[in-house]
């Protein structure tokens, strides 16, 4: 306990001394986040300084083992670091699918060589990873995927198309689900492979979304090359790895939804838009009820994420619980944005608001689709937690 208190004191002092003041402001614009990569971009010097200091401190992946570039912190220490960063509203120094998704899968399923090769550049923000999962004809039915991966002498050749590749056009490497056995049942012929995107066989095309943004891409593989030792886990056993990785994706999406909710109570925003009457209550009584219910749900959800984490730590966890959290967190976030739109009235509908509310609102509609739709999450809960039979 004393060690943890010391760690907390030292962490607080370090963050206080090293986190620039502008890096303690809420993320507003897309370029407020650092994603690293072979050609990293920084909005300003402070952003770069904060990123570099955290990289040097190895706190971009604080709980990963030191030998793979991580900070080597215990779970308890990692929690303290997150708490202390929250206290000063420190921005994440590095956004990274490598840290959130691929890393945990490599730590669990990767070979020693794969860990040595791929994990340290992720923690230093040198390689930006993209995720190649969905295909035009394999969305919710992901295991029906048909991107082909066939051995060609001392390497594989990949042919096919992926879609909804987040920031695919900015990725350096991509982890891709491919079919490596064309005879086996659909879940049994899939492998997860790692592919360098800097080659002529890999091209990307951004997709324009209804929010006007283009964070997602189509990614095309035309005789793209992949080295034989870049299969994660066993050949044809990629579905297991893919599911593990999806668990982390679900947690990330559900968690980021609530992260926003926890940062600023909905009622603060709504009060600012609508105002209070002379009794000190929100001027729109119907909206007030909806806002109160949403906040009650949001707090209860926030506590649920804490409880589920505590249960997991104590070994009482239910794995599929991340499906429930993903479902609830994203639906809650969509309702939150609907209420923000109601509260801002006509002004919400303009595209030149400084907080680009309309674009953010439009973006939330994807929350309950990406990373497995709400319906897929409910299927998982029904089968894996409630034990209801398949058809």
């Amino acid at each position: 306990m004393n060690d943890l208190n010391t760690f907390r004191r030292e962490t607080r002092a370090w963050l206080e001394a090293h986190c620039p003041s502008t890096m303690r402001l809420p993320l507003r614009e897309a370029d407020d986040s650092v994603w690293g990569g072979r050609q990293p971009t920084f909005k300003n010097d402070e952003q770069k300084v904060w990123f570099e200091r955290m990289v040097e401190k190895r706190w971009t992946a604080p709980e990963w083992p030191v030998e793979y570039g991580g900070g080597g912190l215990s779970k308890a220490e990692g929690k303290i670091l997150r708490e202390e960063m929250k206290v000063i509203s420190a921005r994440p120094p590095l956004m990274s699918f490598g840290i959130w998704m691929l890393g945990p899968a490599l730590l669990k399923y990767g070979t020693e060589a794969q860990k040595q090769t791929h994990l340290p550049p992720i923690t230093r923000g040198e390689i930006r990873w993209a995720q190649g999962y969905s295909e035009p004809n394999s969305g919710s039915d992901l295991a029906s995927l048909s991107t082909r991966c066939e051995q060609n002498g001392d390497h594989y050749l990949i042919n096919g198309q992926k879609i909804w590749t987040s920031f695919g056009h900015k990725g350096d490497w991509i982890f891709v689900l491919v079919r490596t056995d064309f005879e086996a049942a659909k879940h049994d012929g899939i492998s997860l492979v790692l592919v360098d995107m800097a080659q002529p066989g890999v091209t990307t095309r951004p997709i324009k979304l209804l929010s006007g943004a283009s964070h997602f891409c189509e990614t095309f593989f035309d005789d793209a090359r992949c080295e034989l030792d870049n299969v994660v886990g066993e050949l044809n056993q990629g579905w297991t790895v893919a599911k593990y990785l999806l668990t982390h994706e679900r947690e990330m999406i559900g968690g980021s939804a609530i992260g926003r909710a926890a940062m600023r109570p909905l009622s603060e925003f709504v009060t600012q838009q609508v105002g209070l009457n002379e009794q000190g209550v929100l001027s729109d009584p119907v909206l007030r009820t909806d806002v109160a219910r949403n906040e009650i749900d949001a707090l209860s959800f926030l506590w649920t994420t804490e409880r589920v984490a505590d249960e997991a730590k104590a070994g009482q966890g239910v794995g599929a619980m991340s499906a429930m959290l993903k479902y609830y967190g994203t639906e809650l976030n969509k309702r939150r944005y609907e209420l923000m739109m109601y509260s801002a009235g006509h002004d919400a509908l303009t595209l030149d608001r400084e907080d680009h509310l309309a674009r953010d609102w439009l973006r939330t509609k994807g929350n309950s689709i990406e990373g497995g739709t709400s319906e897929v999450q409910l299927n998982i809960v029904a089968k894996r937690i409630l034990g209801l039979p398949s058809v």
Binding site: S300, E306, A314, M324, Y327, Y328
Partner: protein, 379 residues
Amino acid sequence: MAMLLTDEQNMLRDSARSFLQGSAPIDQLRRLRDDASSDGYDRSTWRSMVELGWAGVLIPEEHGGVAMGHVAAGVIAEEMGRTLTASPFLSTAVMGAVAIAKNGSTSQRDRWLPTIADGSINVAVAVDEYRSHSPTLVSTTVQSSGRGFRISGSKSFVADGHVADLILVSGRTSGDDKDENGISLFLVPRDSAGITIERQMMVDSRNSASVQLDDVMVDKDSLVGEVGLGYAALEQVLDAGRACLAAEMLGSAEECLAQTIDYLSTRRQFDRTIGSFQALQHRAAHLFAEIEIGKSAVMRALQALDAGSKERQLIVSVAKSKVGRVAQLAAQEAIQMHGGIGMTDEINIGFFLKRVRVAEALYGDANFHADKFARMRNY
């Protein structure tokens, strides 16, 4: 604080579950209803609960209790919600105990707490006077009178009122309706002259009564806390009751889901188990999610009460509001997914629908607590 039960609390849950399912299952409530029991609860079952220490769960050891705290009280209440066990636990062991243990004078504590802990008295809390819960709307009048106070008014929806030996009554000593100041609390023995208690037959077959006070004289020692400053104490008592009611409703919701999953897994139509239909799977999975969310609010509220957190009122309102709605959903979904049989008195699902409706209204429904929550958050 980790949102986990301690080993001690886990053991309590296991023993409560096994006792209640063995000795006080829903069939007991059905019998009490069908036999038109005059007590409305089974005295020998309550005696066993007292022997298990439940009556003293919130009473300090020096007064004969086991002082296990609100989380433990909630664990018991949750298990009672699964079996819909009728007992004076909430009114006496939770609210009566908190009223006196936390706010009573030394002599009140010495006099009453041991009798609560050993099961020799029942306590009821008489707070409501209007069509729905409004603890600041107090028209019951109190006048100083020589050696004590003279109380007149009428209270309704008093849980366990007709089996109470001691009634905690809120009265107005000054101020107007809705003023928090000017409310005082009294411990009124039920055999005081001028008290008329009339049992109300309730939809959930549980105990409730109206209490009429006509110039009831009580002595100075019956005042709890100070004159005119009783509201904070009343809220503390109510919050303990609300959190435990939320725990009870959570238990009921969990049981509704469990019985529904059993039914979905056995009932066959169209040559298949109906639980394989996605339309039903999604209803059940959504309900599961809502219950999990409510469970966290309950645990947080009970922990906040034990910790004396500054935010405990806010958190209790979150819990009562959230779980109230979740429990209504659970009972309604259970009936829907049971189909026609769910509408019959033969199976037990209907008992849950009736109980969670009453528990929802008791000490503030989801709307009352959403409004209170919004006020506490300044909007």
